[in-house]
C-alpha cells in the first residue's frame, strides 16, 4: 500500500470541540486556577450583554463554593431577558454559537465560544453536566436544563430538562462544576472590582465560600445598547464581500449603498467606475477577477469614517470618574473620552482615566487597568498595546517617576471600545499593537497627564508651605534650645522668625512655671476673629484671660475663648491644669492655622 493511502486512512475532520479540548489555553483555561476567573468572566460578560440589550439595570449574583476537595461549583445568576427554552442547549452546549458574531457593533462577547468552553471544561474535569435555569417572563415557567457537549459532533446533549419554580421573573442562572482552586481569589475580586468600575449601572454581589462581597450600583442610567451597523468598505475582506454579493438580488450600485455604511449614490458610482463594472449589473453576478477589482476599488475610494457614535457605547467621563471613586479612594481622578476613530475600517474609541494619591500604594508600579468593550483584561499585561503605549510615554514630564511603567500612587485606566477589538489571541487577554489605537491611548493619557501635573504642582505648593511651617514651628525651637545649651546662653525667642517667614495663625500650648499657657499669634497679615476650644479635664477656672463659656462637669470640660486679633498681635491666657486634651481653633480657614501643642510634655 502506498504511503499516501496509509496517510489517507488517518486523515479526517476535527470537531471544533475536540480542537479546543486539546487547546484549552487558547480560551483561557490553561490552568485550574485560571479556569475560575475565565468562567466567571464569560458568564458575567454574557449576563451584562443580555441586560444591556434588554435595557435592564443588571443585578448579578455570583457564588463560588467548594463541593469537595478541589471540585468547585460556580453559580452566576442575572436578571436579563432570559433565553427561550429551545435555544438554551445551543447557547451553552455548542461552541461557536451566538447572536453577535454577525453583527457589527460593540459587545463583550462575540464568537459564542466562552461559556460553552466553560461547559466543556467542566465536562472534561469532573464529568458533571452544567445546570442552566432560564425564564423569559412572569407568564412563562422557568426551565431547568442539564447540558453536556457531544465533543465529536460539537452538538449539545440535554441530559435533563424540566419546568421548575423560580423566584426571578426573568433571567438566567448557570451552575458549573469543575476541578479548580481558589488561589486566584484576589485576582477574581480584582476582576469584579474593575468590572464594576466600568459598569457603574450594575450591582454585582458575590459569595466566595460563605464570605459575601458587594459591588454596588452608582448609576441608575440604563445603557443605550449600541446599534449594529453595516460593514465599512475599508474594513471588508474578499470572502465576506463574496458572500454578501451572492446573497442579494440587487444591482451593484444599490447593493453598495444598502450593504455598506457611509456609501451613498455618488460613492457607489465612483467605486463602479474605478472597478470598471457597470452599476446596473446584478451584484450576485460578480465573481472572480471582477470581485477582486471591486474590493480594490472599495478600499481605494474615499469614504467617511464609520459612525462610531451609533455602534459604540463609551462609558463616558462622568461615569468613569464615579465608578473609580466608588472602588478606590483617591485625591485626584480625571477621565477623557476621545472622539471615535477608525482602524482597518473598524470604528473604535479610546477612553482613559488617571487617579492619584489617596489610598493607592505610594510605592512600586502604578496600577494599570485595561478594558476592552467594558471587559477588564486580567492577563498578559506585558503583551498588550495599551501597556506599551503607557510605558512609552514620558511620565516624568508630568511629575511622575518611571521605570518602564510609571511609579507611585497612580492609577491608569484605559478602555478601548470597538466593533472588533484586535485581540492577540482568543483568550482575549491583550490588544494587538495597532498604531491607530496606540496613538489614541497616548493622546488621551497625555491630556490627562497635563491635568495631573497641574494638580501635583498645586499640591506641592501647599505642601511647601506646610513644610516650612513644620520646620519653623516644630524644629526651630529645638535648634534654639540645643544651640543655647551648647553656647551656654539663655534660650532665644524664636517668635520674630515665626512672624517673618510664615503667614499663619499660630496657636501654642505649653507648660510654664507650673501653669498651662495658651497663646495665639496672628501672622496672617490680616485681622482675625476666632474661637479657641479646649476640651479637656481642665476647667481653667483661674484663667488670666477668662473664657466666654465653660460647660461640662466631672472630669470633662469644654472651655471657649473668643479672640479678636489684629495682624502681628499676640494673645494669651494662663491657668492651672493638666495641659492635656484637645485644643482647636474655629472661625479661621484651617489652612492658615498651625497648632503647636507641647502642653502634655515636661
Amino acid at each position: 500500500m502506498a504511503l499516501a493511502d496509509e496517510l489517507a486512512r488517518q486523515q479526517r475532520s476535527i470537531s471544533v470541540a475536540e480542537f479546543f479540548e486539546r487547546n484549552k489555553h487558547l480560551l483561557g483555561f490553561d490552568s485550574p486556577t485560571r479556569g475560575v476567573i475565565t468562567t466567571v468572566k464569560e458568564a458575567v460578560d454574557n449576563a451584562l450583554d443580555a441586560c444591556e440589550e434588554a435595557c435592564i439595570l443588571p443585578d448579578l449574583f455570583i457564588a463560588i463554593s467548594r463541593v469537595r476537595d478541589d471540585i468547585f461549583r460556580i453559580t452566576v445568576e442575572d436578571n436579563g431577558p432570559g433565553i427561550v427554552p429551545a435555544q438554551v442547549p445551543y447557547v451553552f452546549g455548542k461552541l461557536l454559537y451566538g447572536s453577535r458574531f454577525h453583527q457589527i457593533r460593540q459587545s463583550r462577547g462575540q464568537q459564542g465560544i466562552g461559556i460553552s468552553a466553560a461547559v466543556l471544561y467542566a465536562q472534561l474535569t469532573t464529568g458533571t453536566p452544567t445546570v442552566v435555569v432560564s425564564r423569559t417572563s412572569p407568564d412563562t415557567p422557568a426551565h431547568r436544563f442539564q447540558i453536556q457537549i457531544a465533543i465529536m459532533a460539537n452538538e449539545p446533549e440535554v441530559v435533563g430538562h424540566e419546568e421548575v419554580p423560580w423566584d426571578r421573573t426573568h433571567g438566567t442562572r448557570i451552575e458549573i462544576q469543575f476541578r479548580s482552586s481558589l488561589t486566584a481569589r484576589k485576582r477574581l475580586l480584582e476582576y469584579l472590582k474593575y468590572t464594576s468600575v466600568v459598569n457603574p449601572h450594575a450591582r454585582i454581589s458575590l459569595v466566595i465560600e460563605d464570605e459575601p462581597f458587594l459591588f454596588e450600583r452608582v448609576s441608575d442610567e440604563v445603557i443605550e445598547p449600541p446599534k449594529a451597523i453595516q460593514p465599512h468598505p475599508h474594513g471588508i475582506e474578499l470572502g465576506q464581500l463574496k458572500r454578501m454579493a451572492a446573497s442579494v438580488p440587487l444591482p451593484l450600485d444599490e447593493f453598495l449603498v444598502q450593504g455598506f455604511s457611509r456609501v451613498g449614490k455618488k460613492t457607489a458610482t465612483d467605486i463602479c467606475e474605478r472597478a470598471g463594472l457597470s452599476p446596473s449589473n446584478p451584484a450576485s453576478g460578480i465573481i472572480g477577477d471582477d470581485l477582486t477589482r471591486l474590493l480594490a476599488a472599495m478600499q481605494a475610494v474615499k469614504v467617511p469614517a464609520p459612525p462610531a457614535g451609533l455602534c459604540l457605547s463609551p462609558i463616558g467621563e462622568a461615569l468613569i470618574v464615579q465608578g473609580l471613586e466608588k472602588e478606590f479612594q483617591m485625591d485626584f481622578v480625571r477621565a477623557r473620552t476621545r472622539p471615535g476613530s477608525v482602524s482597518n475600517g473598524h470604528p473604535f474609541m479610546v477612553e482613559a482615566a488617571i487617579g492619584y494619591g489617596g489610598r493607592l500604594n505610594p510605592e512600586g508600579n502604578a496600577v494599570l487597568i485595561r478594558f476592552a468593550n467594558r471587559v477588564p483584561l486580567m492577563y498578559q499585561q506585558g503583551a498588550c498595546a495599551i501597556t506599551q503605549a503607557v510605558t512609552s510615554m514620558n511620565w516624568r514630564s508630568y511629575g511622575i517617576s518611571q521605570q518602564g511603567l510609571p511609579i507611585g500612587p497612580l492609577l491608569v485606566l484605559v478602555h478601548v471600545a470597538s466593533t472588533s477589538v484586535p485581540f492577540t489571541s482568543e483568550s482575549k487577554d491583550a490588544i494587538a499593537d495597532i498604531p491607530e489605537i496606540a496613538r489614541e491611548v497616548t493622546l488621551a493619557l497625555q491630556d490627562l497627564g497635563r491635568d495631573l501635573k497641574t494638580f501635583l504642582s498645586r499640591r506641592d505648593r501647599t505642601r511647601l508651605q506646610d513644610d516650612r511651617a513644620r520646620a519653623v514651628c516644630a524644629i526651630l525651637p529645638e535648634i534654639a534650645t540645643k544651640v543655647a545649651e551648647i553656647t551656654e546662653r539663655p534660650v532665644p525667642d524664636i517668635t520674630p522668625i515665626e512672624g517673618r517667614i510664615m503667614k499663619y495663625l499660630i496657636l501654642k500650648r505649653k507648660r510654664l512655671g507650673g501653669k498651662v499657657l495658651i497663646e495665639a499669634a496672628n501672622h496672617m497679615g490680616q485681622s482675625g476673629t476666632f474661637m479657641i476650644y479646649l476640651i479637656s479635664a481642665d476647667s481653667a477656672g483661674d484663667a488670666s484671660t477668662p473664657p466666654v463659656l465653660v460647660t461640662g462637669s466631672g472630669g470633662e470640660y469644654t472651655v471657649v475663648w473668643q479672640v479678636a486679633l489684629e495682624p502681628g498681635m499676640r494673645w494669651e491666657t494662663r491657668f492651672s491644669g493638666s495641659g492635656c486634651g484637645g485644643l482647636e481653633i474655629r472661625g479661621v480657614d484651617p489652612g492658615k492655622v498651625m497648632v503647636v501643642d507641647e502642653g502634655g510634655e515636661g
Binding site: 520646620a471 519653623v472 529645638e478 535648634i479 540645643k482 543655647a484 551648647i486 532665644p492 522668625i497
Partner: protein, 362 residues
C-alpha cells in the same frame, strides 16, 4: 599642632557655628550654613598645591524647610556631642557616632551615610579634619609591605617597625590616624600602590619588592583617607615616586584619580591627601591591545562611566583622552590579574619592568 592647641581650635570653631546660629535667631533670621557645592562641576585645579579642590560655587542651607531644619538640628546635636567628647578627652568611631544619635529623638540619623556626610560638612565648615573632633573611621585594613621603617605611637607605647622585616607576609596594617606615624627611613626606589589583593600577593610572592626595592601598598579598592594620606607623606617626605597599578576599567581609573588628584567627596582636604606626582602604570587600554590580554566587553554602565570621565576635569589630559577613546573603540576591559594568562611571572619579569622603565621610574 600640639594636641591641646588642636583641641582648643576644634572647640572654638565648632562652637563658632552654634554661636552664629544663636546670633541669627536673636536677629530674627533663620539659621543657616554655607557650604561649597559638592559635585564634579565644582572642583577646580589649584596651581599652588597641584591638587583639585572645591571651586567657588556655594549652596546655602537654611532651616526654612523641614529637611534643612532637621539637618541643622542634627548638626547642633553633633556639635554638642563633640564638645563633650573633646572636653572629656574621649574619642569615638563614625559608626559609634551614628549609634549615639539613637538617643536624639527627632535628630536621630536614619543611616550612617547621613552622619558621615554631616561630619564632612563640619570638616569643611571648620577647616579641620575629623581627627581633630576625636572621630575616626572603622579600621579598613589597607596594608603596606616593603623596605620602609616607621614609628607608631600606640596606646601601649611607641613601636618602631620595619614594614618588611618586622611583619608577616600580609604586611603592616595602616592605622586609621596616620598622624600618629613617623616615617623614619627607607631603602625604596618607588612605591607601587596596587588595587587588588591578588596582585599585591603576587608581587610579594614573586619578590618584586626585593628585586626592585619597591614598597607595595594594597589600596583595597577605592582607598581610605589614611592610605592616601600615607602615600602623600611618603612621596612628600622621601621624594619616592608613587605609581598606581589597577585594573583596566573606568572604576579603576577613578581609584588612580583619587590618589593623584583627590576625591570629589574629600576635595576640601585634597592638599594633604592627594599625591599629584603619582603616575598611572596600568592596566592601560593600550596594554589590552598590545599584550592581547583576556578581556570582557564593556557594560552600559562602563561606557557611561568612561564618557563621564571624558568630561571630568581630573582626566582632562591628552594621555587620558587617548586611552579612554581607545578603550571605547575596542569596547574591552581587563583585570590586572589577566596577565596570569601569560604565566605567573609575566607581570614581574616583563610587564612591570618594561612599563616602569618606559615611565622613567627604573
Amino acid at each position: 599642632m600640639a594636641k591641646a592647641d588642636l583641641d582648643a581650635s576644634a572647640l572654638t570653631r565648632l562652637l563658632g557655628i552654634a554661636g552664629k546660629w544663636y546670633d541669627q535667631i536673636v536677629a530674627g533670621e533663620v539659621p543657616s550654613i554655607v557650604l561649597p557645592t559638592r559635585t564634579k562641576r565644582n572642583i577646580e585645579y589649584d596651581d599652588t598645591t597641584e591638587v583639585w579642590k572645591y571651586g567657588d560655587r556655594e549652596s546655602i542651607r537654611t532651616a526654612g524647610t523641614a529637611k534643612s531644619a532637621l539637618h541643622l538640628l542634627r548638626m547642633a546635636f553633633v556639635i554638642g556631642f563633640l564638645k563633650q567628647q573633646i572636653n572629656e578627652n574621649r574619642s569615638s568611631t563614625l559608626r559609634e557616632l551614628y549609634y549615639i544619635s539613637e538617643g536624639w529623638r527627632r535628630a536621630k540619623f536614619g543611616a550612617q551615610d547621613e552622619s558621615n556626610l554631616l561630619i564632612e560638612d563640619l570638616e569643611i565648615l571648620t577647616d579641620l579634619q575629623r581627627e581633630a573632633f576625636h572621630l575616626r573611621p572603622e579600621e579598613d585594613g589597607a596594608t603596606i609591605f616593603g623596605p620602609i621603617r616607621i614609628r607608631e605611637s600606640t596606646r601601649r607605647g611607641v613601636r618602631e617597625i620595619h614594614c618588611r622585616d618586622d611583619v608577616g607576609e600580609a604586611g603592616y596594617q595602616i592605622p586609621t590616624n596616620t598622624e600618629n606615624l613617623d616615617l623614619l627611613d627607607h631603602d625604596a626606589r618607588m612605591v607601587v600602590a596596587v588595587e587588588t589583593g591578588g596582585m599585591y600577593a603576587r608581587l610579594i610572592e614573586n619578590g618584586f619588592d626585593e628585586e626592585y626595592s619597591a614598597v607595595l601598598v594594597h589600596l583595597k579598592g577605592q582607598p581610605a583617607r589614611s592610605t592616601r594620606r600615607l602615600l602623600h607623606r611618603i612621596n612628600d617626605q622621601f621624594q619616592v615616586p608613587i605609581v598606581v597599578f589597577t585594573d583596566g576599567d573606568p572604576w579603576s581609573y577613578r581609584i588612580f584619580a583619587s590618589v593623584a588628584y583627590g576625591a570629589i567627596k574629600s576635595a576640601h582636604i585634597s592638599e594633604i591627601l592627594a599625591t599629584p606626582r603619582a603616575q598611572f602604570v596600568g592596566v592601560q587600554p593600550s596594554d589590552i591591545r598590545d599584550y592581547d590580554l583576556p578581556s570582557d566587553h564593556l557594560t552600559e554602565r562602563d561606557v557611561a562611566a568612561l564618557n563621564a570621565e571624558l568630561a571630568d576635569p581630573r582626566f582632562a589630559s591628552e594621555y587620558w583622552h587617548d586611552q579612554i577613546k581607545l578603550q571605547l573603540q575596542m569596547n574591552l576591559k581587563s583585570e590586572q590579574q589577566a596577565f596570569a594568562a601569560r604565566g605567573l611571572d609575566f607581570v614581574t619579569r616583563e610587564y612591570l619592568p618594561a612599563r616602569l622603565s618606559a615611565m622613567g621610574v627604573i
